[in-house]
Symmetry: none
Subunit: 189 residues, 4 copies
C-alpha cells in the first residue's frame, strides 16, 4: 500500500542519490539531506535516523533488477553475445552517468560501516552469479569458449567495479574503454 509516509521515504531517498553521488557517503550530513529535500530536521528524522539508514535503503532498492532482465532474455533465446553486449553497454553508460560517484560512495559505505559489509558482499556475489548465468547459457549455445566461468565472472566484476569507481576521479577516454571491453570479450568469445 502506498501511504504518504512511504512516498516521503521515497522522496528522501531519491533526493539523496544525487548528494551521495556528488559528495560520497561519509561527507553527506543529515543537514545536507534536509536542505536538499527542503524539509526540516525533524521531518527527515521521522523517517530515517541516520545517513547510514538512508544509504542502506537506497542500495536495497536497486537490487534484483539485472537478474530479472537477464533471465527474461535467456528465455526469449536472445543470442548470448547480444546479452553480454547489452551488459557491457549498460556498464559503460553507468560510467558516463551523472551519478557515477555513487560507485565510490558504495565503497566508502562498505569501509565505514563494517556491519554492512555482508550485504555488500552479497551484492558482489549476485553480480557474479548473473554473469555466470549468461556464460553458462553462451557456452551451451556454443557461442562462448569454454573457460572457468566463475573466475572470469569475478574478474569482470572486479574490473568493471574499478572502472566505475575510478570514473568519478579520473577521466577515461571512449577509446580506452572500448579497448578494455574488447579485451574482456576475448576471454569469452
Amino acid at each position: 500500500m502506498i501511504t504518504k509516509g512511504n512516498k516521503t521515504r521515497q522522496f528522501i531517498i531519491e533526493n539523496s542519490i544525487n548528494l551521495f553521488s556528488e559528495k560520497g557517503y561519509t561527507a553527506v550530513t543529515m543537514k545536507d539531506i534536509c536542505e536538499k529535500c527542503q524539509m526540516s530536521r525533524g521531518g527527515v528524522y521521522r523517517y530515517f535516523s541516520s545517513t547510514k539508514e538512508i544509504f542502506s535503503e537506497m542500495l536495497d532498492a536497486d537490487l534484483e533488477l539485472n537478474r530479472l532482465v537477464v533471465e527474461e532474455r535467456i528465455q526469449e533465446k536472445v543470442p548470448a553475445e547480444r546479452i553480454i553486449d547489452a551488459y557491457f553497454r549498460q556498464e559503460i553508460e553507468s560510467i558516463y552517468s551523472n551519478n557515477n560517484g555513487l560507485y565510490f560512495a558504495i565503497h566508502e559505505f562498505a569501509f565505514a560501516e563494517p556491519d554492512q559489509r555482508e550485504s555488500l558482499n552479497q551484492r558482489v556475489n549476485d553480480s557474479v552469479n548473473i554473469l555466470e548465468t549468461i556464460f553458462a547459457y553462451g557456452q551451451e549455445t556454443h557461442e562462448f569458449k569454454m573457460f572457468d566461468r566463475e573466475a572470469v565472472a569475478i574478474h569482470i566484476i572486479y574490473f568493471m567495479d574499478s572502472l566505475k569507481t575510478s570514473s568519478s576521479i579520473l577521466t577515461m577516454s571512449k577509446d580506452m574503454l572500448t579497448k578494455q571491453i574488447n579485451l574482456l570479450k576475448e576471454l569469452i568469445i
Copy 2:
C-alpha cells in the same frame, strides 16, 4: 640534507600511515594524528597545516620505487616472466598486508580533493608505464605474446587496484587470487 625538521616530518608521516590505513583518509583528524604521534596540536601544525598535506606528502614518498627496481632487473637480464611474477607477488602481498586500507584511502583522497587528482592520475600512468616497460622487454625476448601493451597494462592496473581496494572490505581467498593472477598471465604469456 637531513635536518631535525625533516626528521619530525618523517616521524609524523610514518605514524600517520597506520591511521589512514585503519580509518581511511577523511575520517582521520589532526587530533588523531597528534595523539598517535604523542605531540601537541601546535607541534604538528608547525609542520603540516592539514591532513591533506600529510597524506599528499606520504603519497609522494612511496613513488619511483618500483620503476627503479624494474629497470635494474631488466639491466640484469632477469627473465621477463620472473619480473612479472615478482610484480604479481608483491601486489598479492599488499592485499594481505596490514596497511591494505591505504588503497581505499587513496581513492578517498582523490575523491575528496579534486585538486590532487592530477597527481593521482600520474600515479596510475606511472604504474601503467612500468608494466609496459616489462611487457616490451618480454616481447623483445619472445617470452611474451604480442598484444596491445598499453591496453593490457591498463587492464591489469585497474584490476589490481580493484582487488587491493576491495581487500579491506571483502575477504578474498588465496585460491581465488591465484586463479585471477593466472587469468592475467594468460593475457601475456
Copy 3:
C-alpha cells in the same frame, strides 16, 4: 458525570503514573506518554497540554483518601494504636511498592514548578492534620502520651517523606525500617 472525555483523561493519568514513577517528573516527555498510552500526539494534547497538567491532576486525584479513612475509623472507635499502626504499615508498604519513585517525582515537581508549590504545601499540611487528628483522639482515650501534637506530626511527616523519597534510590532493610517505626512510636505511646 462520567463522560467519554473524562474516561480518556483517567486513562492517560493512570498510564502516566508508572512513567513518572520510573523516570521522575522532568524526564517524562509528552512523547513518552503518547507511546505509553498508545495514543497519537494530537490525541493526548486534546486532553492535556503538558506533563505539568497531567502530573498536577494525578496529584489531586489521590488526596482526601486518607482523611476519610481515618475519620471513619475514629467514628468506629477503633483503638488509636491500631489506627496509627495501620498508618505506619501503609507507609512501609509505599516504600516497597513499585511506584515508590513517585515520591521523588513529587519533589521534583515542586522544585521544577514553583507555582505549584502552594498545593504541595497544602498536601503536607493535610497530612500533618490527619496525624494530629489521630493524636488528639489517642490522647483523649489516654492511649497516647501528652506531647506537642503539631511538632510530632510534622516530625513524622518529614521523616516518612525522607524514607519514601530515598527508597527509590537507596536500599533499606526491613530491620532498619522496623527500628525506625519503633522510635517514632516511642514519641507517641
Copy 4:
C-alpha cells in the same frame, strides 16, 4: 601541584554550584555552565565531558570535612552537648543558605544516575558514622542517655535530609525548626 588546568577545573565547579542549587541537577545544561563561566563550549568540554562529571566531582570535594572537625573536638574534650549543638546549628544554617537547592539536586543526581548511587549511599553512611561517634562519646561521658546509637543516628540523618531537601521548596519557620531540633535532642539527652 597547582596547574592552570586545575584552577580552571575548580573555577568551573565553583561556578556550577550556584547553577545546580538554583535549577537542580538535570535541568542544568552544559550550555548553562559555559555561559555561567563565560567560557566557550570547547573550553568547558576540555575539562568535563558532562554535567554528571562536574556534579560528581563537586560532591567529592566537600566530603571528610565534618568527620575531621568532630574528631578534633572530641580530642579537645569539648562537651558532647556542645558538639551536637554545633552539628544542629550547622544543619540549620544549611537550610537558610542560598545553596540549599543543592540538597535537592543531590537527590536528583542519585535518581538520574543509578551508577552513582553507591557513592551516595556511602555519603549517608559516613554521616551516620559521624553522629554515632558523637553519641558514643556523649554516652561515655554520661551526658547522653543510653539508646540505640545506630537507629537514632539514621533517624536524624534522614530527618535532617528531609528538612534540607524540602527547604528549597517549602518555607519553614524558625519556630518550627527549633521545635524539631528539641524533639531530636530529647531522644539523646
